[in-house]
Every structure is written in C-alpha cells, then in structure tokens.
Symmetry: D2
Subunit: 157 residues, 4 copies
C-alpha cells in the first residue's frame, strides 16, 4: 500500500444536509477515489458519511477525524478513524490534514473548517456552501474535484 504520497482531499459539511447535497457529497467522494486521492473528513454522518460512502464504493481510502474519544464513532465507510476527544475543536485538525478542501452545504462547523483551511494555506472549493472570500465556487461534484486537484495535476483542466 503506497499511501504516503497520495493527495489528501478533505470533504467538509454538516451532519444533516438535505438529500440533494448528500448526493453531491457522494459524487465528490467517488470522484476523489477515482483520481487516486485519499478522502479526509470528520468521520460522522451526513455529508461526511455520504462522501466516505462514495469514496469506498469507488475503491478509495478514507480517514475520519472524530470529535469523540472513541474510534467506533466513525461511520462504517471510514477506513482509518482517528479519535481526538476535542469536540468541535477537532475541526481545525480536519483542515490541517487535507491538502485541499471541498465544502458541501454546511453551517457553522463547516465555516470553521473553511476558515482553518485558509489559515493553513489550503485551497477551499465550495458547492452550495458559504459564499465568502476564501471559497472557490463550483457548481457540480465533478467541477469541484477538478478544481481541487488542478494545482496538483495541471493538465486535468
């Protein structure tokens, strides 16, 4: 297993999205896996679970950075659950452990991750999320994955 040099893409978003964004998150996860990147997320339900399910169905690898102290809290599509016991404070670590982030929908938790992504110098792509400085808007899952990866593989776009 050669994983160390793979690009890690963080997918951020809330636990209770509407079904439309759940499907987009699934497609984003699938796209990430097809590109050979590793999916990093918060490990719980909603957008996090949909993206991880998409990535696993496409044969990808998933890492979930959890708020609680128990790795068992992770959704069933997480290969590597990382417990932190930090509560919402763990959001900083989700951003820290991705090379680039894709935000899908989301409320204030997602906003912390968008902001930390910018603090840590990571590009943040967004679909249906906060329309603010520091977010590169995408319309579709495919566009989001392409935007996320084009700094790494310039020929993609």
């Amino acid at each position: 297993m050669e994983t160390r040099n793979k690009i890690r893409i963080g997918v951020i978003g809330g636990a209770s999205p509407d079904p439309k964004y759940r499907q987009i998150a699934y497609d984003v996860g699938e796209g990430i896996a097809k590109k050979g990147a590793i999916l990093v997320c918060g490990g719980l339900s909603g957008i996090m679970e949909a993206a991880a399910r998409g990535a696993k169905n496409a044969g990808g690898i998933t890492v979930g950075i959890l708020p609680g102290t128990s790795p068992e809290d992770a959704n069933t599509y997480i290969d590597f659950p990382i417990a932190t016991g930090l509560g919402y404070t763990r959001n900083s670590l989700v951003a820290m452990n991705a090379d680039v982030l894709i935000a899908v929908d989301g409320q204030f938790g997602t906003l912390t991750e968008i902001a930390y992504g910018n603090i840590y110098g990571k590009k943040v792509v967004g679909i249906g999320t906060w329309d603010i400085q520091g977010v590169v808007a995408a319309e579709t899952a495919e566009e989001a994955v392409d935007l996320a990866l084009k700094d790494y593989f310039p020929l993609i776009s």
Copy 2:
C-alpha cells in the same frame, strides 16, 4: 475579588489591524471594563492588545487565551494569561470562554472565532468584520458593547 459571576466578553480580531480598528478595539475594551465585565481575548497583539489596554486603563480584568505554550507570550495588558500550546486551534477556546463575542476587523482567524461563537450558542457582535449570518452588526464601539450586554442587562438599551 468577586469574579465568578461577572459576564465575560470576548473581543476577537487580528494581530495587524489598521489604526482605525485599533482605536475601536481600545474603546470596546474600555466599555467592557466600565460595565464591570471581564475581557477575554487571544492574548497577543493588534486588536487583542488594544482591547486589553482599553480594559486595563478603565480598571478592568483581562484574560488572554494563548496559542503558545508560554504564558509570557501574552501582551502586557493581560492579567491572566492562559497558555494552550494548541496554535490556531485555540481559537475555539476563546469562543468557549466568553458569554458573548465582539469581533473587530479580522481575517480568517477571526472567522473561526465567529463560527465557534455560533456553534457554542454565543451572540457575536461585529464592527468592520465579516458580513455574514451569525454576526450582529454594530457601527461604534459603544453600540457594540451595548448590543453585547443587552441580553444580560435589558434596560441598558
């Protein structure tokens, strides 16, 4: 010293504001102290230092929650420096330790604190800062302090 039941107001903002916002932060800190509230901030320079200086000049009490491991990192107007060693991740703790927040100017670090304030159910008042959902806009330092405190002392406004 009776401090336990005092209201704690967090002042959030960046280390390199322009002079205009530094003055506003000073006035906010002074206003907080005059109302008998405790000032909580990130303990470093810029908005944090200006607000703490204002609070101290008005006889107030100041708490600084620091990113580094050394209490000595705090600016000279902090009475109680709290080292965390968490880096930017400590921003969550600034929001956690205030009853209400006032954002002055600020970039992405301030945005994490605005978002955490909302996650933790705190009102966030803002002057010259992110114009987004979850921020109650104020025009002046006096208005900001009044908006911050009016849930606690309804007759103020």
Copy 3:
C-alpha cells in the same frame, strides 16, 4: 489587581481522594494563598476543590482549567474557570500554566500532570503521590509549599 507577575502554583490530584489528603490539599491551597501565589488546578472536585477552598479562605486567587466546554463546571472556589473541551487531554494545560506543581494523592490523571510538568521543565513536589523520578517528595503541606516556592524565594527555607 496586579496578578501578572505572581507565581502560579498548580495543585494536582484526583476527584475522589480520602479525607486525609483532602485536608492536606486544603492546607496546601491555604499556604499558596498566604505566600501571595496564584493557585492553578483542574477546577473540579476532590483535591482540586479542597485546594481552591483553602486558597479562597486565605484570600487567594484561583484558576481552574476544565475538561468540559462550560465554565459553570468549575467548583465554587474557582475565580477564573477556563473551559477547554479537551477532556483528559486538558491535563497538559494544567501543567503548562503553572510555574511549579504540587501533587497530592492522585491516580493516572495526576500521573499525566506529573509527567507533563517534567516535560515542561517545572518542578513537581508530591505528597502521598507517585513515588517516581521527577517528583520531589514532601511530608506535609507546609513543606510542600516551601519546596515549591524556594526556587523563587530562596530565603524561605
């Protein structure tokens, strides 16, 4: 209030000590306050509460660094409750925020604080606690406070 240059002494120990150690912790807290130092502790019950009660009864100042997200979790003798939301991981911050530590009784939580105290280069004095390298043993509360402070006020002992 001039607090910034006061020595900060951490008192560490468990939530369920036997009554003997509760009395010793009280005496340690009282001794700390009488010397003009600030008491730092974990802010909860048992040794932490007894020491804070001793310090307050002698007119001292107390800081409690809490595992939970709510400052209200602190015992009633804490002047400055600091919420962290870090759970047991906050033990590192207790050690970080003291110039010197006094361990009274205690189990594995106390052991993390003894170890972190040594990592951060702080002297750790102990009464009825782990008998290991990195702990300077004391027999009485008075001796513990004297040992804790003698690097700061060499003439005390």
Copy 4:
C-alpha cells in the same frame, strides 16, 4: 483494504533511545505487522521510527499521530500521518487511538502515554520502561506483542 476491524497497537517511546531499544522497537513493529494489527505511534524518530520501520518491512500498516501541523513531519515509514498541532498534548491522542499499548524505553513523554492508556482503559505492556502500576512488564519484543494481543486472540499464549 479492510482495515476498520484490525486491532490497533500503539508503540510508545522516545526519540533518542539507545540502540538496544531501537532494535526491540523494530522487532515489536515487525511482530505487530505479522499478527495483522495496525501500528499506531507518535510518527517521529527513535522508537517511533524503528517500530514503524519494522512494521513496514513486514508488510504492515502504520499510523503516526504528530505533534506538529504538517503531515510531512512524519518519518518515512508512516503510511498515514495525522497532524495535530497540539505539541506534547498530542500524546493523549496516541493512547486514545490504540486498543493496547507497548512502551519501549522512554522518558516523561512515554509516561504521559502510559498514564493516558490507563485512563482510557487500555492495557499497557512495557519493555525497559517505567516500572510502575499500570504497566505489564515484558522481557522480549515477542513476549510484548503476545501480551498485547492475548486479550484479542486468547489462544496465542
């Protein structure tokens, strides 16, 4: 890749061990991989690197939970570097993310991990490390791995 149900064994120890313990750590890592368990460690040099190297040479999977903010800090034998930005405070997370721990040599950092392992209810096996309550002593790498795993595979021993 089925990783979710694998046992995770934490190997803890310092960055500057003597050569004897480096070899033992290598053998422990190798033994962990041969049993099909995942190695979790602090991701840096010394015992952490030796154990990870042993695990990789035997075809295992390695996770490194790092003190800094950059995944690149991990030694070259770490498959999944997890940055925390917590400094020494991350030691709690190493213990949190293992089902059982093996301490090899080590100073106060290792002591925090031994203590956190006990707080989190994990068995801690030790070779040439702190001789205290809460550590099950082993003489050899093989014995340490067997002791670590025998609660999971009772027939091993």
